[in-house]
C-alpha cells in the first residue's frame, strides 16, 4: 500500500469483548446502510442506465478496506496500492482508470467514488460506490468503442484524484472531466448521486461508532469478517476437491473479426485453500474485449457463487479472502498490459460467471446450472432530434436465465443484481423511437427437464436519423446445456431498412447509420437447458406452446407431440420419446452444441456472418 492515511487522532483501537447480539445488530445495521446507499442513488441519479437499470455498486468496508456490506467485493485495496498521496478526513476520491487501481473498476465508464470514514479523528472505515456513466467521451457515443486498440480511444481516464479536498469540492477538476463527456448533465448528476450515497453510509458508520463505541465497532467488523471466514472454510472443505477440475469457454469475437477467445480456469484445493488458476486463457486481444480482472473481485464472485449454490443463508463479506488464491497469467485476456483497450469487457465478465458456475457444479451436477451469463447486451442510439437537441441512449438488454436445479430459467430476465429494463413508454416519450415489439423468442431457451429462459426480441423503430452501436456475444458459440439439457439459441441482430432491405449486423459494431423508418430487430440468446428434456411434463410443454413460449416444432425437442388444439398427444408423445431416448446422452454433463470447427464451417450459412478468424499470437 502506498497511500498514506492521515489521522488527527492516532489513538489505537482496543480490542474489546463484543457479545454475539451486538455483533448481529452491527451486521444488520451495515446491511441497512448499504440499502440506504442504493435508495439514495436511484432517487437522485439521472441517466437511465443508473436510475432505471441499476448499473451501480455500493460498498462499505472496514478500515483495512475489506468489504463488510456490498456485492462486488472490495476494490479499496486496489486504490490504496495505486494512490501515492494522502488520505484525510473530508477527502472524497474519484477515479476511473482501471490501470491505476489494479482493476478496481474495469473500464473507464465506471466512475468510482471512495471516502475514508473518520470518527473523532480516527480512521474507522470506507464507503465507496461505482456507477456506469452513459458517456465519458472518446471515439464513439457511449464510450465503448468496439474496435479501439488502446485505452486512449476510450474517453477520459481519471486517475485517483480528490474530488473533495478536506471537504472542499474541486470544481475545476469536475469541469475538466465533464467537458469531455457528451452527456455532461447526466454524468454530473450521477456523480453527485454517488457521492450522496457514499456520504449516507459514512453517516451510518459514524452513528454506529457513537452508539456502540468505536472500539466495539472496530472489533465487531473484525469478528464479522472472521465469522464469514469460518463458514466459508467449512464450505470449501466440503465442496471443493483436491483433484483439479478445469473448464473452458469462449468469447465469440473481438469486434474486429478475430475469435473466439478462450477463457480457461482450473480449480483445486490445497489444504484449506482454493486455487483458481486461469492458465490456458488466451493472450490479450488487440481490441477492447480485454477484462482487467481484479483478483479480489474474482474472490468475491467465487465466494458468492459458493454461498448461493450451496448455502444461501450465509451472509457474505471479504473475510474469506485468505482462503482463495487467484492466479491470472500476465498479458492474458484477463490481465492485459497497459495501454490495452478495455471498454468492452462485459462479454468476458459474463463468461467468467459461466465458467465459475461450471467449475463449482462439475463435481456435484445436482448443483450445476446451465450457461446463460453470456453478455450484457447494449444498444446505443444517438443523434440530433427534430429540435436539433443531442440525444443519446444507452440501454442494457437481457437474455434468458439458464435452466437450474432449482427450476426453469425465467424468460428475458437479468442475471445482474438489481438490474431492470427501461419502460418502453419512457423510451418513446424521451427518445425518437418506438418499440414495436417487445417479447421473448419461442424455443430460444434450451430444452431440458428445466427449460432455459428465452432470450428477448426487441424491435426498435427509429424516428430520427442517427447512429447506433451494438454490443453482444454468444452469436457464434452456444450457451451450453447441462445434465442432458440442450444449448440455448444464439443471438442475432437484423436491421430492416425502410425500403425493406435486410442487413445482418455483427454482434459487436459501432457507427451504424440509421434513418427514419429503419427497424432494428435485436435478439438476445436463450439460457441453456437443465436435465433430460424427455422427462419434462408433456402437459407443461403443451401449455407453453399455447403461451407462445415454445413452438409446435420446438415441443418436439422435448419429445412432445401436440393435438390440433395444442394439447399433448399422449400416445404420439410416448412413441416419439421412446425413439428419442435412444439418442440422448445422459452421461454427458455439458452439451456445448457443435465443435468450434463445425461452427466455423456453418457460420455464414447459419448466421449470415463470416466466421471469426482464429487469432495468432
Amino acid at each position: 500500500m502506498v497511500a498514506t492515511i492521515l489521522q488527527e487522532n492516532t489513538t489505537a483501537f482496543n480490542t474489546v469483548d463484543v457479545d454475539p447480539i451486538t455483533l448481529d445488530i452491527i451486521e444488520n445495521a451495515l446491511k441497512n446502510a448499504r440499502f440506504e446507499m442504493d435508495a439514495t442513488l436511484f432517487r437522485t441519479a439521472m441517466s437511465p442506465g443508473i436510475r432505471e437499470q441499476g448499473d451501480a455498486f455500493p460498498l462499505i468496508a472496514d478500515k483495512s478496506g475489506l468489504m463488510l456490506a456490498g456485492q462486488f467485493g472490495s476494490f479499496i485495496r486496489g486504490f490504496l496500492n495505486g494512490y501515492d498521496g494522502t488520505v484525510e478526513e473530508g477527502d472524497i476520491f474519484w477515479l476511473s482508470d482501471p490501470y491505476t487501481c489494479e482493476g478496481a473498476v474495469s473500464h473507464a465508464n465506471d466512475w468510482l467514488v471512495l471516502l475514508a470514514i473518520f470518527k473523532d479523528g480516527r480512521h474507522v472505515g470506507w464507503s465507496a460506490m461505482f456507477g456506469h456513466m452513459t458517456d465519458v467521451g472518446g471515439m464513439v457515443p457511449g464510450s465503448l468503442p468496439t474496435n479501439a486498440i488502446t485505452i486512449f480511444q476510450e474517453g477520459i481516464r481519471i486517475p485517483p484524484v480528490k474530488l473533495y479536498r478536506k471537504g472542499v469540492k474541486q470544481d475545476d477538476i469536475l469541469k475538466i472531466v465533464l467537458h469531455q463527456c457528451r452527456m455532461p448533465e447526466w454524468a454530473g448528476a450521477d456523480l453527485n448521486a454517488i457521492v450522496a450515497a457514499c456520504r449516507m453510509a459514512e453517516r451510518r458508520v459514524v452513528e454506529m461508532c457513537d452508539r456502540f463505541g468505536a472500539d466495539t465497532y472496530i472489533t465487531a467488523t473484525e469478528k464479522l469478517l472472521d465469522r464469514n471466514k469460518r463458514a466459508m472454510a467449512q464450505l470449501i472443505a466440503t465442496s471443493v476437491g483436491e483433484e483439479k477440475v478445469s473448464f473452458e469457454d469462449y468469447v465469440c469475437d473481438d469486434g474486429r473479426g478475430f475469435g473466439p477467445y478462450k477463457i480457461k480456469c482450473t480449480m483445486w484445493r490445497e489444504g484449506d485453500k482454493v486455487i483458481l488458476d486461469w492458465e490456458g486463457t488466451d493472450p490479450q486481444s488487440e481490441s477492447s474485449i480485454n477484462f482487467y480482472l481484479n483478483e479480489n473481485m474474482l474472490k468475491m464472485f467465487f465466494g458468492i457463487y459458493m454461498i448461493m449454490v450451496f448455502d444461501p443463508q450465509i451472509l457474505f463479506n471479504d473475510g474469506f479472502y485468505d482462503l482463495v488464491e487467484v492466479r491470472i497469467p500476465d498479458g492474458s485476456l484477463l490481465k492485459p498490459h497497459f495501454p490495452a483497450a478495455l471498454s468492452c469487457r462485459t462479454h468476458a465478465l459474463g463468461r467468467i460467471f459461466d465458467v465459475l458456475g461450471a467449475l463449482l457444479g462439475q463435481r456435484q451436477p445436482e448443483f450445476l446450472n446451465a450457461a446463460g451469463f453470456s453478455s450484457s447486451p447494449h444498444l446505443m442510439y444517438s443523434g440530433y432530434d427534430k429540435e436539433g437537441e443531442w440525444f443519446q441512449l444507452f440501454q442494457i438488454g437481457f437474455g434468458g436465465i439458464p435452466g437450474r436445479p432449482f427450476g426453469d430459467g425465467p424468460d428475458g430476465h437479468s442475471l445482474w443484481p438489481g438490474f431492470s429494463n427501461v419502460p418502453n413508454e419512457f423510451l418513446e416519450a424521451y427518445f425518437p423511437m418506438r418499440i414495436d415489439r417487445y417479447e421473448t423468442i419461442p424455443d430460444s431457451g434450451g430444452a431440458g427437464l428445466n427449460r432455459g429462459g428465452n432470450g428477448i426480441s426487441i424491435q426498435y423503430y427509429f424516428l430520427q436519423a442517427g447512429t447506433i452501436s451494438i454490443h453482444d456475444d454468444r452469436w457464434f458459440t452456444y450457451p451450453w446445456g447441462v445434465n442432458g439439457g440442450n444449448p440455448g439459441m444464439r443471438s442475432t441482430k437484423t436491421l430492416v431498412r425502410v425500403d425493406g432491405d435486410r442487413e445482418v449486423l455483427p454482434s459487436k459494431c459501432d457507427n451504424i447509420t440509421v434513418n427514419e423508418g429503419d427497424v432494428l430487430i435485436y435478439n438476445t440468446w436463450g439460457g441453456g437447458g437443465w436435465g433430460n428434456p424427455l422427462e419434462r411434463d408433456a402437459d407443461l410443454v403443451a401449455r407453453e406452446v399455447r403461451q407462445g413460449l415454445v413452438s409446435v416444432d420446438g415441443a418436439r425437442s422435448y419429445g412432445v407431440v401436440l393435438t390440433d388444439e395444442n394439447q399433448a398427444d399422449e400416445a404420439a408423445t410416448n412413441d416419439l420419446r421412446a425413439v428419442m431416448k435412444e439418442n440422448i446422452n445422459t452421461e454427458q454433463i455439458f452439451n456445448y452444441g457443435p465443435s468450434i470447427a463445425e461452427l466455423r464451417e456453418k457460420c455464414l450459412a447459419e448466421t449470415g456472418l463470416e466466421p471469426p478468424i482464429q487469432p495468432v499470437w
Binding site: A189, I401, I435, R437
Partner: protein, 683 residues
Amino acid sequence: MEYRLGVDVGGTFTDLLLIEEDTGRTYRSKVPSTPADPSQAVLSGTKKICDMAQITSSDLSFFMHGTTVATNAVLQRKYARVGLIVSDGYRQILQIARSLVPGGLAGWLIWQKPETLAPLECTIEVPERLDADGNVIRNLDEDNLRSQLETLRKEKVEAVTVCLINSFANDAHEKRVAEIVREEMPDIPVSLSSEILPEKQEYERALTTVANSAVRPTVARYVQNLRNELRAQNMTGQINLLRSDGGLMSSEKSEELPVAILMSGPAGGVSGALWIARHAGYENLLTLDMGGTSTDVSLIEHGTPRLTRDTEVGDLTVRTSSLDIRTVGAGGGSIAHVPELTGALRVGPESAGADPGPACYGLGGDSPTVTDANVVLGYLPESLLGGEMKLDVDAAKKAVQTIADALGISLMAAAAGIIDIVNENMFGALRIVSVQQGYDPRDFALIGFGGGGPLQANAIGKLTQSWPVIIPPAPGVLCAYGDATTRMRAETARSLSSRLDNADGAEIEKILKNMAGEVSAELAGQGVPKEEQEVQFEAGVRYQGQGFEVVLPCASERFADHGLEQLAEAFHSEHEKLFTFRLDAPIELVNLRVTVLGKSANVKAIEIEKGDGDPGGAEDGTTTVWMDGQEKQATLYDRSKLRAGDKIAGPAIITEMDSTTLILSGHGAHIDHLGNILINPLT
C-alpha cells in the same frame, strides 16, 4: 343517537369498536375470526356489540370496515382467471415484467419467479398503436379483435383487462376495445388501464389493472354478502371500507376498485393511532403495530401519515396509493435460531403462528419465540387474556435454553438477546420510514399497539430516542378505532411531462380544477355532499432526467399567478432535505394528483377519572424480572384502575385485558386525561 361501528378483521381475532358519537362513549369487543368466511365473525361480532350497547343494528349510522380479504386473496393467490388484451407486440408484458431478479449477485440461482397474474395463454394482442403523445399510428383492427376474443372465451376467463401502449395519453382505443368485449362477452367485467391507472409505464399500469380484476370476484362476493346480511338486519346506514391510503370508500366502490383496499388492515392501525394522537396532542409520531407474525411501522408528520405510490403485498407490487407502512417479519411468534455455519443469532422470519404458537402457550410448540423470551425475562405475567390463558414458564425456559446452549451464554442473556435482535429489526424498519426519508426520529413520539407493541415499545423508544412512548387505551383494538374514525376519500392522478420554466400555469390550474370536479362528483356519488368535501392537490416534481419524483402539496387557486415558482422553490429545498444536494438543472412536472376527503368523524374522546398522582390503588403486587443484566423487582398494575395524573416508575408492568405494557428501569410513565400511558426517560 348516532352510532359508528368500526370492525377490523385480523388473522386471529375480529375486533369491534362501537362509538356513541355525542358522548364519545365506546364499547369494545373481540370475537374469534372465521377465516373461511370472515363475514361470519363480522356479523356475530356486530350482534354482540350491539347487544352490549343495548341497540340494534338499525341504530348504526356508519359501519366502517378494515378487511384483509383482498390481501389474503393475493397472499393465497386466490385469483380470478383474468384475460388480458394488449397492443400488438406486447403479449409477454407480464412475463418479462421489469426483468428484475431480486436477491443480489447470483440471486437468480435460487429465485422462483411467480406465475403471471394474467395467464399468458389468456393474453391476446390487438393490432393498434398510439404514439407517446396519444396520436394514432395504427387504427384498431376491430374484426381481428372480435375473432381473437374466441381464445379468451375458450380459456374461460372470468374478467378482462385492457392495457394498450401509451393509453395514458389517449384512452380512445381502450374504450373501443371495452365496448367490443362487452358486446361479445356481455357477462364478463372489463377493466381499463386508462381508468384504473392513467399513468406512464406500461408494465406497472398493466399489472395494477390486472390485479384489480384478479381480486375483484373474491372481494365483490365478500362485500355483497356482508351488505346483504346487514341490510337484512335493517341496517340502513352507510357501509364503508377502509382503503390502503387510510381513507374510506363506499362498499359499492370497493367492489369496482378492490386494488385500493389491499392494505386495508394495517391502514386501520395507523388511522387509529392518528385519532389517539390528535386527541392527546401529538402531531408527529412513529407507529409500531406488533402482531403475532409481523410488525407494521409508519410515520405521521403534522398529523398526516406519509403515503407511498406503491402497494406491496407478498410478491405483488402494484401502483396504488397506500400509507407508507413497512412490515417486518418479526412478531411475538417469531422463532429464534442459530445457524450452524455462522453461529449468529437470528430471529424470524419463521413464525410459530397461533398454532402451535410459542412454547409457553403449551399447545405443543417447542420453538423458542419472542414471546417465550419475554416470559423467561418475567415481562409477561403468567396468565393472559384476563386469566383465560395460563403461560407455561418452564416450556418457555426449555425452548430458550436451546439458544443459550448454541451461543454458549446464560439463559437470561439468550432471552435478552432475542428481544434485542427483534427490537433491532423493528428499529431497522422505523429507520426506513424516518431517517431514510430525511426525518429525525427524535422529533417524533412513538405509539405502540397491537398485541405485542406495548411490551416492546419502551425499548424501541430507547433506540429511536422517540419520546414519549405512547400506549393508547385498548391497544389491541386500535385498528377498529381507526376504521371508525377516519374519513371518506377518493383521488385521481394524471401524467404530464412539462418543464416548470416553460409550463403554462393557467393551463395547469385548469387541469387541476377539472380533476377536482371529477373526484368531487365521484365522492358525492358515494354519499359525501359537496359542502362537506375537502380538496387537496399534489404535484410530482423532479429534476429533468431523474426517475423518481418528489411529491409536493400545491393549491389550485391562483396557480396561474405564482404556482410554478412556488413549486420550484419547494422542490429545491425538499430535494436538499432528502438527498443533501440541489442542482442547477431544469425541473420537470411529471404528475398531478387530486384527493377529495369527506369530513372528519365528530367523535369525542372520553376522559378518565382524575387521581392524585399516586397509582397505589392500581397496584397488584410485584414480580421478578431480568433487566439490565440483573434481577429486579417490577411493580404490577391493573390498567383499568389507573387514574389521570398517576405517575409510575419503572421497572413496572401494566396489564389489561388484551395486552401488557412494560416500563423499563430508568423510565417513568404518566397517565394522561384520556388514559394513555406516556413513557419518558427519567433524567
